[in-house]
Symmetry: none
Subunit: 230 residues, 4 copies
Amino acid sequence: MSGAGTRSGAAAAGARGRIDKRWAILDAAFAVFAREGYAQAGVDAIAAEAGVAKATVYNHFGDKETLLRQAVTAHAERALAQNLAAVERLTDRGGELGAMLQDVGYHLLQCYCDERSWALRRLLAAELHQFPDLLDIVQGQVADRVTEALADRLARLALAGRLNTTDALLAAEQFSGLLVGPVEKRSRLGTRQLPDAELRDVVGAAVCTFLRAFAPDGAHARQAGQARQA
Amino acid sequence: MSGAGTRSGAAAAGARGRIDKRWAILDAAFAVFAREGYAQAGVDAIAAEAGVAKATVYNHFGDKETLLRQAVTAHAERALAQNLAAVERLTDRGGELGAMLQDVGYHLLQCYCDERSWALRRLLAAELHQFPDLLDIVQGQVADRVTEALADRLARLALAGRLNTTDALLAAEQFSGLLVGPVEKRSRLGTRQLPDAELRDVVGAAVCTFLRAFAPDGAHARQAGQARQA
Amino acid sequence: MSGAGTRSGAAAAGARGRIDKRWAILDAAFAVFAREGYAQAGVDAIAAEAGVAKATVYNHFGDKETLLRQAVTAHAERALAQNLAAVERLTDRGGELGAMLQDVGYHLLQCYCDERSWALRRLLAAELHQFPDLLDIVQGQVADRVTEALADRLARLALAGRLNTTDALLAAEQFSGLLVGPVEKRSRLGTRQLPDAELRDVVGAAVCTFLRAFAPDGAHARQAGQARQA
Amino acid sequence: MSGAGTRSGAAAAGARGRIDKRWAILDAAFAVFAREGYAQAGVDAIAAEAGVAKATVYNHFGDKETLLRQAVTAHAERALAQNLAAVERLTDRGGELGAMLQDVGYHLLQCYCDERSWALRRLLAAELHQFPDLLDIVQGQVADRVTEALADRLARLALAGRLNTTDALLAAEQFSGLLVGPVEKRSRLGTRQLPDAELRDVVGAAVCTFLRAFAPDGAHARQAGQARQA
DNA sequence: GATGAATGAGTATTCATTCAT
DNA sequence: CATGAATGAATACTCATTCAT
């Protein structure tokens, strides 16, 4: 057993080493691509940051383009998971609507303000012309799905009579716009870190406006206003 | 007089030639930078697109960085002028509020959806790390000033009792968010041209939501809803 | 007369202006060529140092090569005149031989150590391969003629029985070698300015050695040794 | 053992290949720098002459300046070794003084007249202003040390009563001057190859003059004169 | 599979030279 | 004639990619 164990252990360690290296390269690649842009990013720099030799990068990914796509895909999936988790906090069973929207909005903005999310969006914007398929990966696989998920939840709330809208997708887009618009301006495209209090204020204002527009009657709006003060 | 005219005409033609070339270079530079990104953009390509020799580019602008900054600055100024003109359509003397907001929002979104505006924002996002001062040029000199101007007009409407808000800047940010959020998603970062009808729908929805939240009483909201149908 | 004077004066002033500019360019060219080397020297820099526009340089000299040759020729002539003046201090009528040699040697070394002479030799060495004809200008027109002139004078001294040599040219070469060899080493190729006292010492030692070898009898050698002490 | 041998052999071949390439580049660089001057020399040309790709040059030396310094240093060391070997032929045990000086002088001049030595001096003169540290490498590390070594040997001869001088360094400088002065003029800065007979004549004349000046009595001088005839 | 060395294609920048004024 | 502007050719240096070990 020890012999077999040793061998399989060695093999496992080797596989683990390979996988670790693969992830190290992907992380380094994303970091360098985001920091320098695709053209400016050197494979040298990526290899150095990953702690491997340049040729190893090519052994794993073949060429620079593939590396970009894989790195973006990996980080897009991470972002998608985080955002969906945030959306799922919104249920029709849950308690008071304003508080729940505040909670969801806050977590969505935290995803949005994550350093790596800013990097992902900047990278996407930067390389749109040269790599249009990145748009499908990021916008299609992530952003749209998050909006759809949010729309689903809003639709269930509307069905339950707790929201007054017939176009749940538009409502979801507008809720996002109310959250993201102010933040994009104030954080100067992710350059400045917003203090948590300001973030909560933005969320509160968004929820307040959203409820005034979409709550079945005026009562909720006032409650939301109170939630914002808290 | 004709002699003097001839001379000054010749001199003017010379100066005109220089100025024309300068503008040709700036336009070509902006186009190529936006299409390829700073690092990927070749000065060769810029010169070719401008119809001048590469060295002429260097005679005028010294180096690639300066060329980028000048091109961005020039186009930022153009965008600023257009946006301010749009905002100025919002007066406290004007007619029905919903119709006016619809008009302003539509023109603002037209500015926003201009191909060169998308290019400017993408370029800014792409080169933020390498040229942080571009942020001051674009965000500080343009976006913020437009929001401030919009806030000014909203504040006057609030003073006139036609809007119900105490934080005009926040209201302006939210109005922008309601306009821009849906558009950014639907046009896939400017990749897809939105049909005019869809654009008007987005504006109508934004105005409707905005008025429900900020109109002094429910009457306006209903009017806005009707405006949206029209 | 005043009219003609004015006109010719104007013409003269114009011509003077042209000539002045020509000399300014030649001086600037020599300075820049010597400082930077032919390839590295920019016509821009020369024009700037001469205080004229770049195109003016081309109006006067046609191209960079011509400019180099003219500048070198001009300064070679200057150096030739200085060196010949030094050699002519050596006469067969003059007083004590050692003192005269000391005087000639000192003035020759002063020519040799002139900043512009170092520059001329460095420039010649640098551009030998690309412009072999400079060698004829500098070596043939200057250095050789100085050595010949010195040989002439030494020959007359030998005829007068005051020197003991049959090959005056060789004697002249050796005298030069005794002067120049130590100086070239000590001044580090003209980088370091030799103090006047050290210069005189070198001359004294050269004269002393020269006389010991070439004086008809030992008496002169001793006198030269005394001259060196003084 | 054969396996190990194979491996080390392969490794050695690899290392040898690198070293060979390094030397090929250094030689090519020196040749091209000497032929064209630093500014004019293209790294392309150097790489081509070395038979490697341009990037390989940069992999080995980083930039053009470093390449120049390394090439000069390498060839300066070579020249130093040759010159010191020549000086060491001068011993106080050896036979007749005139013959020994003739031998040393001849070998020193052969070093001096080596094509690469001329190239080294020309290159030094050419690039003095831009790379003043080359002076330390060539003058300080080579020329001065050779003169010092020669002075050492002359001093031992003086101690042994075979030379009459109290300043061995000056004597060494003058001996060099007597050798080099005539040669520099006759070979036209290394442009013309001196025939061996003329070289020997120059050495003979130098030794003759030197001994007349520094031999303890007249006897040696006459012997040297005879040596020159031989 | 991981690495160091080698390479060829590409790019920003400079500069001698010309032309219109 | 003196000039400012324009240009084409040349060059140092970089980098993605491949190959031998």
